[in-house]
C-alpha cells in the first residue's frame, strides 16, 4: 500500500505526459481534453486497483494497457471514431479491435516532440505556452503550476482553457513543422524552454524543490530536441549548455530557508562540476555553423561565471559578450548586467556615466546597481539610490539584500 502511494505520483510525473501526447496525437489537438481525461482516469483506476490488489508486475505496462483500452472504448462509443480514425483504416469498424495505439518509446518521443511544437505555437502568449507546457509536456498539477507562477488555480485554469481554445481555433495540428517552417518554429520552442527554465530559476516562489523541478523539466525537453536529428541544432546545444551552467549552482544559490544566496557569496564547493563539464561539452558542440544565437552568448557569459576568480580576462570577455547580446536583442536586465561588467572591466567611473544613461528609473535593479557603483565614490548618492531601490523592490529577498547594502553603507560611514 505504502509502495503504491509513493509510486503513483512518480509514475504520474513520468507517464501522464506520454499517454496524453500519444492520445492527443490520435484524437487531434482539438480533443486534448479527452486525452487528458483518459490519462487521468487511468491513474485514478491505478490508485484504486493497486491499493486493493497490490502492485502489478509491470506498473508502466499496466498503465499503458488500461489507457489503450479506455481509449478504444471511447472511440467505439463515439462518433469521433468515424471522423478521426475510420478514414485511416483499410476496411470497416470491425477493425477497432485490431486498431493499435502505439505506445512504443519511439512513438512516444515523436508525439512529445510534435506536442512541443504545437504548444509553443506563435498564436498563444508565452505565458500560456509555459503553463500549457508544464501541464501537458511535464505532467504538473494545476496546483503546482499556480505555485510556480505565484498565482491561484483559477487563474491557471482560465489561462489553460483560453490557450486550448486558441489552438483549436487556429487548427493547430500535432505534427512536425514543414522543412521550410522548422527554423522559425524551433526558435519559438527554444524561447519557451528558455523562459520555462528561467521561471524555475528566478521565480520568487519559496518551494525550492518545485522550482528545481521546473528547471529540470526544461532541460529534459531541450534534451528531447537534441535527440532528434532535425532539431539538434547549434542553438539548441547552446541553450542546454546555458541551462547546465546555471543548474550547476542549484545547491549553492539557495540557503536552507529558501533564501537566495548571491553569486559572490556562494560556496563554490557546492557547484556541480559534472554539470559544468557537460555545459562546456554542449557549448563546444554549439560552436558550429554561422549563426550566433542569443543562447550562444548567454552560455558564454554563464561559462565565465563558472570561474569564480575575478580576472581581467573574465570581465572583459563578459563585457564583450553582453555588448554583442544587446546588439542582438535588448533587455533591461542585459543592459544592467552589461553595465556591471563594464565597471569590472573599465572601472566604476565609466560605468556610472553609462548607467545614468540607461533610463530604467522604475527598475529597482537599476537603482541597486547605481547604489553599488556609487558606494565608496559618493556614498550620499549611493544611499539615495539604495533607498529608491528599496522602495521599488517587490520581493522579500530583494528587499533583504538592499537593506543589507544600506546598513553596510552606514557602518562604512561610521568608521
Amino acid at each position: 500500500m505504502e509502495q503504491t502511494e509513493e509510486l503513483i505520483p512518480h509514475l504520474f510525473r513520468t507517464e501522464y505526459r506520454k499517454l496524453t501526447a500519444v492520445l492527443t496525437k490520435i484524437f487531434g489537438l482539438e480533443h486534448i481534453e479527452i486525452a487528458e481525461d483518459i490519462s487521468s482516469d487511468t491513474f485514478l483506476m491505478a490508485s484504486e486497483t493497486w491499493g486493493i490488489k497490490g502492485l502489478p508486475e509491470n506498473p508502466v505496462a499496466w498503465l499503458y494497457t488500461v489507457a489503450k483500452n479506455k481509449a478504444k472504448d471511447y472511440l467505439k462509443r463515439n462518433t469521433l471514431f468515424d471522423q478521426k480514425i475510420t478514414p485511416h483504416l483499410q476496411n470497416n469498424s470491425s477493425e477497432i479491435q485490431e486498431f493499435e495505439i502505439d505506445l512504443s518509446e519511439q512513438n512516444i518521443t515523436d508525439c512529445q516532440l510534435q506536442m512541443m511544437f504545437a504548444v509553443c505555437h506563435p498564436s498563444i502568449s508565452s505565458e500560456a505556452q509555459i503553463s500549457l507546457s508544464l501541464r501537458v509536456l511535464c505532467g504538473f498539477g494545476i496546483d503546482e503550476i499556480a505555485n510556480a507562477f505565484l498565482t491561484n488555480k483559477e487563474v491557471i485554469n482560465k489561462r489553460l482553457f483560453r490557450a486550448k481554445e486558441k489552438l483549436r481555433l487556429e487548427q493547430v495540428k500535432i505534427e512536425f513543422p514543414s522543412q521550410g517552417a522548422i527554423e522559425g518554429r524551433l526558435e519559438m520552442v527554444l524561447r519557451t524552454l528558455y523562459l520555462l527554465f528561467n521561471e524555475g530559476y528566478y521565480s520568487a516562489g519559496k518551494d525550492v524543490t518545485l522550482r528545481k523541478e521546473v528547471c529540470l523539466e526544461a532541460m529534459r525537453l531541450t534534451n528531447l530536441l537534441l535527440e532528434n536529428k532535425t532539431t539538434n541544432k547549434p542553438a539548441v546545444n547552446a541553450l542546454i549548455s546555458l541551462m547546465c551552467f546555471h543548474a550547476s549552482r542549484f545547491e549553492a544559490r539557495v540557503d536552507v530557508k529558501g533564501e537566495t544566496i548571491l553569486y559572490q557569496n556562494q560556496n563554490e564547493n557546492l557547484w556541480n562540476e559534472e554539470l559544468i563539464t557537460q555545459g562546456e561539452c554542449f557549448l563546444n558542440q554549439a560552436s558550429v555553423g554561422d549563426k550566433l544565437s542569443k543562447y550562444h552568448l548567454e552560455a558564454g557569459i554563464a561559462y565565465w561565471h563558472t570561474l569564480k576568480r575575478d580576472t581581467a580576462e573574465k570581465w572583459e570577455s563578459i563585457l564583450q559578450l553582453y555588448n554583442k547580446l544587446l546588439q542582438l536583442e535588448y533587455s533591461p536586465i542585459a543592459a544592467l548586467n552589461r553595465t556591471y561588467a563594464l565597471s569590472k572591466a573599465n572601472g566604476k567611473n565609466e560605468a556610472i556615466i553609462e548607467a545614468e544613461k540607461l533610463n530604467l528609473k522604475d527598475n529597482h535593479l537599476y537603482h541597486a546597481l547605481l547604489g553599488n557603483l556609487y558606494t565608496g565614490i559618493d556614498n550620499v548618492k549611493a544611499q539615495f539610490h539604495f533607498q529608491n531601490a528599496l522602495k521599488l523592490a517587490k520581493s522579500k529577498a530583494d528587499k533583504t539584500i538592499i537593506s543589507k547594502n544600506i546598513s553596510d553603507l552606514g557602518s562604512a560611514k561610521n568608521q
Binding site: 564583450q320 553582453y322 544587446l326 542585459a334 543592459a335 552589461r338 553609462e354
Partner: protein
C-alpha cells in the same frame, strides 16, 4: 523616436596600422561604444564597415574606380541609431572612438519613405 544614420569618415591612409594589441584595443573601444548605445535600447542596426574597393558610376556610363583611400574623409562605415532629436543623436555620436584618430561622424536624420 526618430532614426539617425551615423556615417564614419576618416583619412584611412593616415591612420597608422597598430600592433595586434593596439588593434584589439581599438576594436574594444568600438564594441564598448556600440554596446553602450545598445544598452540604452537605441541601436537600430550596428551597420557595417565598408571595404576600400569600389566604383563610382557617373553620367554617360563613366565608371571610375574609387581611389577612395586617397581621399581625405573617406566613408569607412555606418550605423543606425534611434533618438528623440538630432541633438540627442549628436550627443551620442560624441562618444565615438573615431575622434581619437582624427576621423568624424556625420549625423543624419532618416526620413522614412
Amino acid at each position: 523616436m526618430k532614426e539617425f544614420l551615423f556615417v564614419f569618415r576618416n583619412d584611412y591612409q593616415a591612420v597608422p596600422k597598430g600592433s595586434p594589441e593596439e588593434m584589439q584595443a581599438e576594436t574594444k573601444k568600438w564594441m564598448d561604444w556600440i554596446g553602450g548605445i545598445a544598452a540604452q535600447n537605441k541601436l537600430v542596426d550596428r551597420g557595417n564597415r565598408l571595404g576600400s574597393e569600389g566604383n563610382t558610376v557617373k553620367p554617360g556610363n563613366v565608371v571610375t574606380d574609387g581611389p577612395f583611400m586617397e581621399i581625405k574623409e573617406a566613408i569607412g562605415g555606418y550605423t543606425l541609431v534611434r533618438a528623440e532629436s538630432l541633438e540627442e543623436a549628436t550627443e551620442m555620436a560624441k562618444g565615438c572612438p573615431i575622434f581619437q584618430n582624427g576621423g568624424s561622424v556625420e549625423v543624419r536624420v532618416i526620413n522614412p519613405m
